[in-house]
Assembly symmetry: C2
Homo-oligomer: 124 residues x 2
Amino acid sequence: MKRIELDLVFGALSDPTRRGMLERLAEGETNVRTLAEPYDISQPAVSKHLAVLERAGLVARTKHGREHRIRAVPAPLEEARSWIGHYARHWKRQFDAVEAYLEAHDMKTEASAPAPRRDTKKET
Amino acid sequence: MKRIELDLVFGALSDPTRRGMLERLAEGETNVRTLAEPYDISQPAVSKHLAVLERAGLVARTKHGREHRIRAVPAPLEEARSWIGHYARHWKRQFDAVEAYLEAHDMKTEASAPAPRRDTKKET
DNA sequence: GCGTTTCATAACCGACCGGTTATGTATCCG
DNA sequence: CGGATACATAACCGGTCGGTTATGAAACGC
């Protein structure tokens, strides 16, 4: 369930136009037209991008007459950041260990050691 | 250029199988078969997922004989996290302001005030 | 050498994505 | 009222995506 949400959040972030819109929204609420301004795409394309962002919960909409004011919603982003952060810690540790190993054995650039010096203790 | 990279990173993260693989990689390097084990998909499908992760720079590969040892690479994730973090600060501020406003005016749930009490000073 | 294992590549399929044009629906305004 | 403005929706199109089966290539082990 959370999985699906993350799918949508990361999926929404994978497009530069949508990221650009979110960046713009950091400056404050705007209507759709203003949000679309920097991009050389049709108005329906903008509506679609907004729909994607909305489905992911990244933006919310408040109708003011014929205008739709769009604002960013930080919660899903925090979730995404948290996911990354949670695993990044492990990865970093892992990565550092590998780096240290390669460094120590002077094996940078493509390992593959075909005839291994068998004094390495096979660390399962 | 960085834009394209972020596209790839977020795009790679938008799939639950690939996120699962990264989670698994937090526990350490593995070969492709082991990485594929939890998923009920064909081996070529796994290869494709790995290719996506590799293109995004999230994963690196070292051939050991016929095995390909896969490991996580933290750098692109840090970049993604940093992007989120950079704008999340603004969004949060923005969001809190809006929340406070709605709270103060008791306007939670769908605003749109059709017949506005016209003592509000029209704040552009 | 030969079968097995590990993985990649090719070709194909249905679904979705990002874009378009055309049209519809409210709302504002003169 | 009627036109203009702000937006959504529908229908379509080419490309990518996630999956498949079939096949290929390289390394291991007997």
